[in-house]
Amino acid sequence: MKHADAIVIGAGWAGSILAKELTEAGLSVIMLERGPERSTAIEGAYPDSVDELRGAIRKRLFQNLSQSTLTIRNTIDQTALPYRQLAAFLPGEGVGGAGLHWSGCHFRVSPDDLRLRSAVIEKYGEKFIPEGMNLQDYGVSYAELEPFFDKAEKVFGTSGVAYTINGKVTGNGNVFAADRSSDFPLPPMQDTFSAQTFRNACSEAGYHPYAMPAANASRPYTNTYGCQMGPCNFCGYCSGYDCYLYSKASPNVNILPALRQDPNFTLIANAHVLRVDLDSTKTKATGVTYLETLTKKEVSLSADLVILSAFQFHNVHLMLLSKIGTPYDPVSNTGTIGRNFVYQTISSSRVWLPPSKYTNQFIGAGGAGVAIDDFNCTNFDHGPLGFIGGSPVWVNQAGMKPIAAAGGAGGGGAPRWGSAYKTDLVETYKHSLGIDAHGSNMAYRDVYLDLDPTWKDAYGQPLLRMTFTWKDNDIRMNQYVVSKIAPIAKAMGATKTHLVHLNQGQPFDTRHYQTTHLGGGAVMGEDPKTSALNRYLQSWDVSNVFVIGSNAFPQGMGYNPTGAVAALAYWAAHHIRTTYLKSPGPLVKL
């Protein structure tokens, strides 16, 4: 049997970061990716890359559900049904993972995001937490993670403007943002016309607009690994595409070119991991078994260290299939694998400007825009409102293409076809812009992941089952924040505004895109009764398994998750390198 010091499962951001760090530490690393190789130079090159049908519509870079999917239900008493067509969320597949087709919104976190339970109790008391909500702290502080946020930004080539650096105000960045040890590596992206209109209106309304931090390069950049990025030209093909200009950070552009030079590193594509193999005590992983998807041959590898760094729910699925830890049971409220599955609470409203103003919605960059944090996290008083969580509000004009625009036009009482629909589509495409409330989502006792009893993947293994719906706390949060958009829209000179928010009793709908920001299910924390992983993202149960990704988030935050995932990946890698490798075993002793 072939042996590696470490096996890394999944070639996205988390896996590429861990593989880079572990090869730097001198380990031999085999990275397994179930999808194909992906090369911007070949299949991502212009002009084929700027093809909406081939890209976002036919879903070239996303997971192929014909091989494996999950089942979904809203409540425990329902039969979950397969997610047969990609819609509500779009996991990646292939080298680069979702890190190849993401937008590039590259946030840090609000310090209170990491200690939300403590922060809420300090301000409002424990009774403020609704019955059935599993509000938890991460077990790691912003101060501890700051060096790793800093390190990740210098790898990603992040464009942004700071508010404070080492306690001193340095620029017109986000006044709510935590202090930084150094500036962004690149200056902020330019405001689009839409974003600038929003910025002006927010300032007028007394809010605090800032340029969103973007892993879209505002200037040419060479990162800490010697990988090069070209300046973004706002072509609008970020989300759902591989950036033909090498301007959007991806594992493929920012890490793998350096990693592939290392003789200690081996990348095996088209390798679907079936399970992590454990010894008879179930406390130590011996390696992994995967299927070569092109030959259908099963291969086992042995390893001292196994890193699960696939997409959020694939990590949870693999833990359940491999019997790592105890599956969560919502009835007895025991077990941790599948517990605290979370999402985000997002709604997009629309504002129409006068006919003399063209928003040119096809112009944009995935991570660029203007946001306010006045209603995010703990930045406002929740006492009289009686809910937990919040949303940044932003204009993130990322490049709206016409098929997507046409599909979304009409509805809500307006015609969805015919001549009146056409008139509305033309006006909406030319003169409107979107404003998003991009909010948090709390964890609940009866929202979780487990194995489905009926449906199987192409390899004969049970599908993962998701039990999820919207809850009162998050619906009221979303409604409150969306209500704040109306006066901003008015100040923007809106001729018409269509506010969109969740409604009470509205179940989660799998048919419409919401976000790919799924989280939790194998969360980090300080108590093995309520977390699958310790604060170093190490399995409490199998100490040579680390599970890296948004699966570690105990609740969904208002910000996009990639920045936090990258920082947690560098944080875990640091402790593996400095402590674990010297003396393998649990990094937290109880």
């Binding site: 084929d48 809203n74 405001d191 098929i403």
Partner: protein
């Protein structure tokens, strides 16, 4: 994803224009004249459906035109070649549901849990069109394509509203498939056979494959001044 038939999977005009670029006469004549002649010739060509039968294609062409009718905003689905686009798409891996999870059992459930039928797009069109034409005959004594537009609209409205079942397929499912593919055909790059003359893009002001807006990130709300270009290099 390998195509069952590379000629069919390959977009239409990519090979057409690349073939043109290779000819001596193109380079001798040069300039826009030959481009526009060639493209006009192509726009005038008739298309013979390959997957759909002639009758199914007549239904499709008529139904798409009601979803996106020719009007003061710009060309409708017929002029844009939407039916041709759909017939071509049904011969690609997409038509075979290549990235849909199609393992049973197939169980009916609440609408918000998504599509649960054992049919890929090719099945939806074949079964859906046959049943919709049968419904049309039953209601109006004629095939859908032979009805006046107000009767056609009434049928589509009934399908969209969910009150009609087309054999094994809920009317709403068929309608949504039709609407989705119609809009794709109107606004996808012309290499796929629809959006003829980039008429869909001209209508909404989308510049196609330009993909470089460094100078127009913020021009205080002025319209982007340059017309569209397609992946094959066609301009309008």
């Amino acid at each position: 994803m390998p195509s069952p038939d590379p000629d069919l999977h390959n977009p239409l005009r990519r090979s057409f224009v690349k073939g043109l670029l290779g000819t001596t006469s193109f380079w001798m004549l040069g300039g826009h004249a030959l481009w526009s002649q060639a493209l006009a010739a192509e726009a005038a060509r008739t298309y013979s459906p390959t997957f759909l039968t002639a009758d199914e294609y007549r239904f499709l062409d008529a139904a798409c035109e009601r979803i996106l009718p020719d009007d003061h905003n710009g060309p409708g689905a017929h002029k844009l070649g939407v039916a041709e686009f759909i017939d071509r798409q049904l011969q690609t891996p997409y038509g075979h549901g290549d990235n849909w999870y199609m393992s049973g059992p197939f169980v009916e459930g609440p609408a918000n849990l998504g599509y649960q039928l054992p049919f890929v797009p090719r099945d939806l069109y074949r079964k859906g069109i046959t049943a919709a034409d049968a419904y049309s005959k039953q209601q109006h004594g004629k095939l859908f394509a032979d009805l006046p537009t107000d009767a056609q609209d009434a049928i589509l409205t009934a399908l969209e509203g969910g009150s009609v079942k087309l054999g094994e397929i809920p009317g709403r499912v068929f309608f949504e498939q039709l609407r989705t593919n119609t809009l794709e055909g109107a606004f996808a790059d012309p290499i796929y056979g629809g959006n003829r003359g980039m008429g869909g893009w001209l209508m909404v002001g989308f510049p196609g494959a330009r993909a470089d807006f460094m100078d127009w990130v913020n021009q205080d709300g002025a319209a982007y001044p340059i017309g569209p270009v397609s992946i094959s290099g066609e301009t309008a």
